[in-house]
């Protein structure tokens, strides 16, 4: 949405974005199977995927902790991940919570694996992982994550403590570039408005979270 808003400000045609459950952002007409068909046809370039647990091989657990099926903590389920992760070329993983219980050495249940054996049809997979503290890239040949940059206010020692899997990194990692004011304005304006159509409570909560520190600062 940000990319589309930026491109449209620049007078260009932005990318198509689909939000499940939205009318305004729903350009599908063949029911809930169409997204997956579309991905199978190679028409979807990128996809964002969260996870209850993410491990060092980029395996994703969306099912629950402990021994399946009697998982003491049960999450909703795998949704379309066990398909989209295989066929969408650029999957960006995200997990706001950057802790050893979220970023684990090995997930308790593989909803969808980060890498596949040679010979298994796989045209897609993870390219990055974004958390509340840092940005990682993913190299499927190793396989493993490499720290790309650390968000302002955090340091390498903290990242290492907070991450349950091993990862490669430079001795002095880059800092994540904050968004410029124009981008921030778009994010907090138009993009929130668009998100609010489908996730009104989430958008309202985000707005409150942002306005609070701002009012403290003033």
């Amino acid at each position: 949405m940000l990319l589309r808003a930026l491109k449209q400000q620049a007078g260009e045609k932005g990318p198509r974005i689909s939000i499940l459950g939205s009318v305004e952002h729903n350009f599908f007409t063949n029911g809930s199977a169409e997204l997956f068909d579309c991905a199978g046809q190679g028409r979807i370039d990128a996809f964002f995927l969260g996870g209850g647990q993410i491990d060092g091989h980029a395996n994703i657990n969306l099912v629950g902790t402990g021994d399946y099926p009697l998982t003491p903590v049960r999450w909703p389920g795998s949704f379309g991940s066990a398909y989209l992760y295989y066929v969408v070329p650029r999957v960006i993983l995200f997990r706001e919570e950057h802790t050893p219980r979220a970023l684990v050495e090995k997930v308790d249940f593989i909803s969808t694996p980060g890498v596949s054996d040679p010979g298994v049809h796989r045209s897609g997979g993870p390219i990055a992982l974004l958390t509340g503290k840092a940005l990682f890239g993913f190299d499927k040949t190793k396989p493993g994550f490499t720290l790309q940059s650390i968000h302002p206010g955090h340091d390498l020692a903290e990242i290492k403590n907070a991450t349950g899997f091993r990862f490669d990194h430079d001795e002095r990692p880059d800092q994540t570039m904050p968004p410029d004011p124009q981008t921030l304005e778009l994010l907090r304006g138009r993009v929130y408005d668009e998100v609010a159509e489908t996730y009104p409570d989430f958008a309202a909560q985000m707005r409150r979270d942002i306005e609070q520190p701002l009012s403290h600062a003033s």
Partner: protein
């Protein structure tokens, strides 16, 4: 034209019951009448995920197994009675991924024993599904494993739609998963906001969004029948009510209180 109680009579013990995703048209109006009959041992198929209705049927003790890609209350968080039933081992789980549910229904729609599907290999979903098979793609020169999903043939499909005509044709618009469910099912029960006089198939514009009467067993009127879910093009989701449920249903007692309260107040405020 039938009433909700007549529709509920089709939901017999031990049947395989298909229910749509929260935004496609959930017949919440039927949840009460089904629970009132206390029909047990239901095998639910969520197309492709479940929410409030699934959680309530589980909470009421009617459910033996759930085949689904997820169960959640969306913005209101996890599905409390589902999560509790999983933890206690009360329901059998057939965890899937969305396109596998669609593939199983498509196999039934086509009269085929299975559909192949990419993905899945290396996942624990596949490891726990003894009904799924892996074969080497016979079109390839060797290797290339691919998963086969067996046909999913529900006994009953139940959903809510904006309208039907007097001939039993149901307007589902672009929510074509509702048609896919009906094609695959022996019996299809539909609640609607309204019944219209004109034949929805007589005009090409309306016909494009019609599930023909051929696939529809019964239609019953249920204004605001998706509430507290919304219905596309009709009314929004009542998120406050779903949050109220989510809080109440954290405990079995809270769930029972909420459901008892719903009986006296089935209509939205």
């Amino acid at each position: 034209m039938s009433d909700l109680r007549a529709l509920a009579a089709y939901v017999e013990p031990g049947i395989r019951l298909a229910l749509p995703v929260d935004y496609a048209g959930v017949s919440m109006a039927m949840t009460g009448p089904i629970i009132a009959r206390n029909t047990r041992d239901l095998d639910l198929v969520c197309v492709p995920t479940g929410g409030l209705q699934v959680d309530q049927l589980i909470g009421a003790g009617l459910v033996r197994s759930v085949e689904t890609s997820a169960v959640s209350l969306g913005e209101a968080g996890g599905a409390p009675r589902f999560n509790a039933a999983v933890k206690d081992g009360i329901i059998a789980l057939k965890d899937a991924t969305c396109p596998a549910i669609h593939a199983g229904l498509m196999a039934a729609q086509k009269g085929s024993p299975f559909m192949p599907m990419r993905g899945l290999i290396g996942s624990d979903l596949l490891r726990h599904r003894s009904d799924w098979r892996v074969i080497d793609n016979p079109m390839a020169d060797g290797g290339d494993p691919v998963v086969l999903i067996p046909a999913i043939k529900p006994d009953v499909t139940l959903f809510h739609a904006p309208m039907a005509d007097r001939f039993g044709n149901v307007w589902i618009g672009r929510r074509r998963e509702l048609a896919a469910m009906a094609y695959a099912s022996a019996t299809t029960l539909v609640t609607v906001e309204r019944i219209v006089d004109e034949n929805l198939l007589a005009d090409e514009m309306s016909a494009a969004g019609v599930l023909p009467a051929l696939y529809v067993t019964e239609v019953a009127l249920a204004p605001k029948g998706a509430w507290p879910y919304g219905l596309w093009g009709e009314y929004p989701t009542d998120t406050a009510e779903i949050l109220r449920y989510a809080r109440a249903a954290r405990s079995a007692e809270g769930f029972a209180d909420y459901m008892a309260g719903s009986k006296t107040q089935m209509e939205p405020a």
